[in-house]
């Protein structure tokens, strides 16, 4: 049952901007996410320069005043989470991979899929517009705690605050539409023969991430409506003098906030599972256990949120409950990391660039996970809350998620997306040039954090204990390391665009992988499969005894396995 669909050759606008093809929408999300990453990265460069070399002219920006610093920090946080990590990890990889890996021609609802990108683009433009309004972008931290975010007189960026809130709300709606599409496509449109446990882990993880997002974003949408009315219609939802309660927003925000970090973590874990399995030529160790631990992490992520608010004025008795659930959620995550490491046992590990990124993810994420225990236990959180220890902790989880795992995915699926191979040596230069400086940025910040540096402060001149020269040296080292890391990103950008035209031409299955997306030509034609596949086995059949090659594609019947010559 072929899928030739006769239609007029679409014009440029139709093909690129109004296309309902899941692969084109994936590219739109990918390039929008990468553009926003440049903006977010630039903000990081600016405020790190201010911290590393206080009160000096920052080349390319100018002088960083306290108000600008707050806006830079707020926008860096908001952009990197909502407009870089989520679109690239969930929407770009989700849109590109799910139909291909699940064996169907497109998403179940292509037009809803296109609408979700358009609303996402609108949200990005609304956020960028908030840079140009009077008072500048919102400066009250990406968490936007009222009354600071609710009252214009307090945050001095009233228009920026409302635009920031609208942009975040639009982004939520975009990902609700996108998430529903991923879930329905994976549940209903799987290739015949692909049972629940034959679905590749990256598809499982992206779908679970969308479900967790859908179930956790609801209360925050309600909270955002209330905050919008507080900002514009002078209601008193969060105004204590008029019966409101600022803690209500904190609870609604973190009830969404913590599941949100698992929403971005799971797709990254899925990508790394694919990469590690392919390059270690090994079946994932305990596929079902990884799935069950993912389910338990997904559910537990709803009962831990108040560990962000231990000292925020919640009732002290609640802190112990959330401290226990936070330690509880570290159990399934530890199990998953152990399983990923165990996958390496007995394999033959090819250290190509995607595998380097995959292993770097496991190595770096463990440091992030381990430092979370310091913050999860309520005792030490009294001292460490809102210090640079917290910043170093969540960058050791977010950078592996949003940068290292994304590079693993991009370098792995680049041949499939664009039909060309990326340059290996440039890839390795870029790898070492990113991972080593990354550690040199954030290890010093752990130390300044334990020494008492508080976050979101543009200079420590007012604080005697924090202006010790030793701490300032650490901050400057961290800034210089960031400059190296940002410089090496241009190696990747060059490699990315240079290989588009002049990279080695890639065949359908350059990495000899066994999942369905490698059975179609690269880049996949419209409608993906000439012959819609039938699935016979699980996704990670590597090293199968009695099979001519060391991998068994999902759509090859068992009988034909033995006779397969090295294609």
């Amino acid at each position: 049952m072929s899928t030739e669909v006769q239609h007029a050759e679409p014009g440029i606008f139709q093909k690129y901007f109004l296309s309902t093809d899941h692969k084109m929408i994936a590219m739109q999300y990918l390039f929008t996410g990468m553009a926003m990453a440049l903006i977010g990265g630039f903000f990081a460069y600016v405020f790190r320069m201010q911290l590393g070399f206080p009160n000096q002219h920052v080349p390319g920006y100018g002088l960083v005043t306290p108000g600008k610093y707050n806006a830079l920090v707020t926008m860096h946080g908001s952009i990197m989470i909502f407009w870089v990590a989520m679109p690239v990890l969930i929407a770009a990889f989700g849109n590109f991979l799910i139909p291909l890996m699940v064996g169907c021609d497109d998403m179940a609802f292509p037009r809803i899929n296109r609408l979700s990108y358009q609303i996402f683009l609108l949200s990005a433009l609304v956020l960028l517009a908030s840079f140009l309004v009077k008072g500048g972008p919102f400066g009250g931290a990406w968490t936007g705690y009222p009354p600071l975010s609710a009252v214009g007189a307090y945050n001095l960026t009233p228009i920026g605050a409302t635009l920031w809130l609208l942009a975040v709300a639009l982004e939520f709606i975009a990902f609700l539409l996108g998430g529903i599409n991923f879930t329905v496509t994976t549940m209903n449109s799987r290739a015949p023969g692909m049972k629940m446990y034959d679905i590749p882990l990256v598809v499982w993880m992206i779908v679970l991430a969308s479900v967790i997002f859908m179930c956790s974003v609801g209360p925050l949408i309600a909270g955002a409506v209330m905050l919008l009315f507080d900002q514009t219609m002078s209601t008193g939802f969060y105004d204590p003098t008029r019966g409101g309660d600022p803690l209500l927003w904190q609870h609604l925000f973190w009830f969404f906030g913590h599941p949100e970090v698992y929403v971005v973590l799971l797709p990254a874990l899925g990508i790394v599972a694919e990469v590690v399995a392919v390059f270690a030529r090994k079946k994932i160790f305990g596929y079902k256990t990884v799935l069950y631990t993912t389910w338990s992490v997904g559910f537990l992520s709803f009962v831990v949120w108040a560990h962000h608010q231990f000292v925020a004025g919640i009732d002290p008795r609640m802190a112990n409950i959330f401290s226990i659930t936070t330690l509880l959620i570290s159990v399934p995550i530890t199990e998953m990391v152990f399983l990923y490491i165990a996958t390496l046992y007995g394999g033959s590990i090819h250290l190509d660039t995607p595998m380097l990124w995959g292993l770097a993810f496991i190595g770096e994420f463990m440091i992030g996970g381990v430092t979370g225990i310091f913050l999860g236990s309520s005792g030490t959180d009294i001292y460490l809350h809102d210090s640079y220890f917290v910043i170093a902790h969540f960058h050791y989880t977010f950078v592996p998620i949003a940068i290292i795992a994304v590079y693993a995915g991009l370098t792995f699926w680049y041949p499939k997306m664009f039909g060309r191979m990326l340059n290996e040596t440039l890839g390795k230069i870029h790898f070492w040039g990113t991972v080593i400086p990354f550690n040199v940025i954030f290890i010093p910040l752990f130390i300044t954090g334990t020494a008492g540096d508080q976050r979101r402060v543009y200079s420590y001149a007012q604080f005697a204990e924090q202006s010790r020269p030793a701490l300032q040296h650490l901050r400057t080292t961290s800034t210089i390391a960031l400059l190296f890391m940002l410089a090496f990103q241009f190696v990747f950008i060059f490699n990315f665009f240079w290989s588009l035209r002049r990279g080695k031409r890639a065949d359908a299955n350059p990495w000899r992988s066994s999942t369905l997306e490698w059975t179609v030509p690269s880049p996949p034609p419209h409608g993906n499969f000439a012959e819609l596949p039938i699935v016979y086995r699980g996704p990670y059949e590597y090293g199968l005894p009695g099979c001519a090659e060391d991998f068994a594609p999902q759509n090859v019947p068992d009988a034909a396995l033995a006779g397969r010559s090295r294609a």
Binding site: D21, S189, V217, G236, G243
Partner: protein
């Protein structure tokens, strides 16, 4: 992919539920969490602020009760439309869907008059905690009623030509969900005083 042709993915049904109804259940699940969050905040504030009962007494219970009756009746029409659609009787289903949408219109007009009376009495969105929640809850619910009506009219026009009949059931599901939200909103806003 011309707009009309559906992808194969849309026609498959791995879970046994057609994709149209499956996506409706997911929409309802995410709506439960949105209204749930707002209602939870309202309930906590109502218990925390007993003095709001005084301002709650100014709400017009009769208008609320009549609106509940209107929504119940329109839910009946929606499910009868689904029965007609199952019997492949497109025009009848379309007529019943349009009747349901009319019920929604009546609901909104009654609410309009009710709010006009409240405004005249001086109770606006920013006059106190209860009224903020009252207008936010009823307003968000009203928007969902309006959105449901618009989609319902589009589906009715297609059902009249015996096309896309499975969508009649889906808009019915959404409408029943909006009715259930109002079933909980009615006592919370109009009776608890």
């Amino acid at each position: 992919m011309s707009a009309g042709a559906k992808p194969i993915a849309n026609t498959r049904s791995g879970t046994g539920i057609p994709t149209a109804r499956l996506i409706t259940w997911w929409v309802i699940a995410s709506e439960i969490v949105i209204f749930g969050g707002l209602l939870a905040s309202y309930v906590m504030h109502r218990i925390g602020h007993p003095e709001w009962a005084e301002s709650a007494s100014h709400t017009n219970t009769w208008a609320g009760a009549f609106n509940t009756f209107v929504l119940l009746t329109s839910s009946l029409c929606a499910v009868l439309a689904h029965k007609a659609a199952d019997a492949h009787d497109g025009p009848r289903a379309a007529r019943l869907l349009r009747l349901t949408a009319l019920g929604g219109l009546i609901f909104l007009t009654v609410k309009g008059f009710e709010w006009a009376a409240d405004f005249r009495e001086g109770f606006v969105l920013s006059s106190g905690g209860f009224w903020s929640f009252y207008y936010t809850l009823a307003g968000l619910h009203g928007l969902h009623v309006l959105a449901g009506m618009i989609i319902m009219l589009i589906i009715a026009s297609e059902a009249a030509k015996n096309q896309e009949m499975q969508r009649v059931e889906c808009i019915g599901l959404y409408w029943h969900f909006v009715d259930i939200v109002w079933i909980f909103l009615f006592p919370l806003l109009y009776i608890a005083r």
